[in-house]
């Protein structure tokens, strides 16, 4: 079980076989998805009919429309990017403020508020979406009925999607940033002041650089989470659907290798993002 306790050979072999099976299980679906985006056939299934880039680049003239010429896919990709940008910005900002609030300040009811802050982690995404839909649409209706004010931001649409995602992504950002802030030695701020910095300058020159890896990590995570979210998003989306919703609707109509192409693109995108944040395993982290 551990290195220092010897095990019979058959049990070792069994263990390794299990590990191998596990990693096949983990990688197979994605591998297959990626490979079939290059199959020269109208359906993502065997037999293999040859290699093609049509599902990425075909312009529709030969009956195939590649991903980069498919306007509805491209526009929903842009919508997703737009949403993810705002969600990242808002949740990371909120996450920083919350981290400071909970790591640096003492106030009555702190423990209770901290538990409250964790709640979005244990609320199913669907319910988060539903409750926000009910609340904001209800408010919009009430405004319209009582005062005749039409406030469309409160109806399903991008602002609502952004709010719904922010609701739970903020908690994750807070946890990531707070964990880093907790490891910060507060004497460093005193040392900075001792060397002539005002408290504000000390914060920006010493504390913020320390937090930066966590902030970037949280931003990458927020961006991915937002881009990939379906459960909360689908409840709140209006006329311009983000990518996951469009893909879902396409998938119900039937699968084509274009979907594989989109999937590959998404994987590459997230792989790149993950790689960027993990690169240089921060030389400053002790």
């Amino acid at each position: 079980m551990i290195r220092s306790v010897p095990r019979p050979a058959w049990s070792k072999r069994l263990y390794f076989a299990y590990l191998a099976a596990f990693f096949v299980y983990v990688s197979l679906p994605l591998l297959v998805t990626a490979v079939f985006s290059f199959n020269d056939a109208p359906f993502p299934s065997l037999p293999w009919r040859g290699f093609t880039l049509d599902w990425f680049f075909a312009d529709g003239s030969a009956g195939r429309t590649g991903l980069f010429h498919d306007d509805s896919l491209l526009s929903s990709l842009a919508t997703s990017g737009h949403i993810a940008f705002w969600v990242t910005l808002v949740s990371v900002t909120l996450g920083c403020l919350n981290a400071i609030l909970f790591e640096r300040r003492q106030f009555p009811g702190k423990e209770f508020l901290y538990i409250l802050m964790l709640m979005p982690l244990v609320i199913p995404g669907v319910i988060l979406g539903v409750s926000i839909l009910v609340f904001f649409s209800g408010t919009a209706n009430a405004l319209s009925d009582t005062w005749g004010i039409e406030w469309d931001s409160l109806r399903p649409g991008l602002p609502l999607v952004i709010m719904g995602q922010v609701a739970f992504i903020t908690t994750l950002c807070t946890l990531v940033i707070a964990a880093r802030l907790r490891k910060f030695d507060r004497q460093l701020e005193e040392a900075a002041m001792n060397l002539g910095a005002t408290p504000l300058v000390a914060w920006f020159t010493v504390t913020l650089p320390w937090l930066l890896p966590a902030i970037l990590g949280a931003a990458a995570m927020a961006f991915l989470m937002s881009f990939e979210n379906f459960n909360t998003t689908v409840m709140l989306t209006g006329s311009d659907a983000p990518l996951t919703v469009t893909l879902f609707n396409r998938l119900r109509e039937g699968s084509t290798p274009v979907l594989n192409a989109v999937a590959l693109l998404l994987m590459a995108g997230s792989g790149l993002l993950v790689g960027l944040t993990l690169r240089k395993p921060n030389k400053q982290t002790r």
Binding site: M1, S4, V32, L118, P124, S131, V134, M235, A263
Partner: protein, 286 residues
């Protein structure tokens, strides 16, 4: 800092937090609760009533799906734990240096893709015209296409796959901190692999197990894409019914009631899980 500025800055930090919590989490959920206790009389008026909940209990279709979703989520969680534990053990305790990092990264690979893409990958593999079916025919194990999609085993395969990361990461983190000499002492004092696992390793890993199980359970219970896309006609998932009420039937009152019930179920089971494992919510999640 002078006391006025100190108080002011506290409020400035509290304001965004409270805004987020109240506007996006607490009030929407209260509103959902409020709506669920209403019965629509005409298109613009409704009265108090528990009719939505009565419908739930009187229509066996609802509460059967409810129970089925709960039971299958618990079962998936357990299965994920069993699948992930040996892998986490290998990564945390047996792998060294580079291979440790690589294996850990390999476990994270599925999460470069969204739930939709992962599910899509499984569909390509498992369906009648899919890879596995074709392969089985090719090697001669069967002579007609086999449909492996659209049954509960397929759903579980997909759900376990979705939950793996959230189980492996906390397990590896806690197992990393286990002092190997504790295990050695266990053997040294006459224990065998089973007693050492049961009396030393598992108690030590309990916080990681609890946190992994809670997250996986929550994700499974609230998942929508995997059961909808991979499940059979008669194996509905509870989230589907909430979607149906909101999106197809526009029966928000009924949908809200179902949402409240799902929330109650998830909170109750999380609470029970914490109770049984003797862990505190704050320690496990924060």
């Amino acid at each position: 800092m002078n006391p006025v500025a100190h108080r002011l800055s506290l409020w400035l930090l509290l304001a965004p937090f409270l805004l987020w919590m109240l506007l996006l989490v607490i009030v929407p959920h209260l509103q959902m609760l409020w709506v669920s206790f209403h019965v629509r009389e005409s298109w613009d008026s409704s009265v108090w009533g528990v009719a939505q909940y009565q419908t739930f209990f009187s229509e066996s279709y609802y509460w059967r799906t409810f129970v089925r979703t709960g039971v299958m989520s618990l079962f998936t969680t357990l299965l994920t734990l069993i699948v992930a534990f040996p892998v986490a053990w290998y990564i945390a305790r047996l792998a060294r240096g580079r291979s440790k990092g690589l294996l850990f990264a390999a476990c994270l690979i599925p999460f470069w893709a969204s739930e939709l893409v992962r599910t899509y990958g499984w569909m390509i593999l498992l369906r009648e015209s899919g890879l596995i079916s074709t392969w089985l025919q090719f090697v001669g194990l069967t002579d007609a296409p086999v449909e492996m999609l659209y049954n509960d085993i397929a759903v579980m395969t997909g759900l376990v796959y979705n939950g793996l990361l959230f189980m492996v990461v906390p397990l590896v983190t806690t197992l990393d901190g286990l002092d190997e000499s504790l295990v050695e002492a266990g053997y040294d004092l006459g224990g065998n692999s089973w007693t050492v696992l049961q009396q030393i390793v598992i108690p030590w890993t309990m916080p990681g197990i609890t946190s992994g199980c809670i997250v996986v359970f929550m994700l499974t219970l609230g998942s929508y894409l995997t059961p909808v896309l991979m499940g059979g006609k008669d194996s509905a998932w509870f989230t589907e019914q909430i979607f149906t009420q909101f999106i197809t039937r526009f029966n928000w009152e009924q949908g809200a009631a179902l949402g409240v019930l799902l929330l109650v179920l998830s909170s109750a089971l999380v609470w029970l899980g914490l109770r049984l494992s003797g862990q505190s919510f704050r320690r496990v999640m924060g």
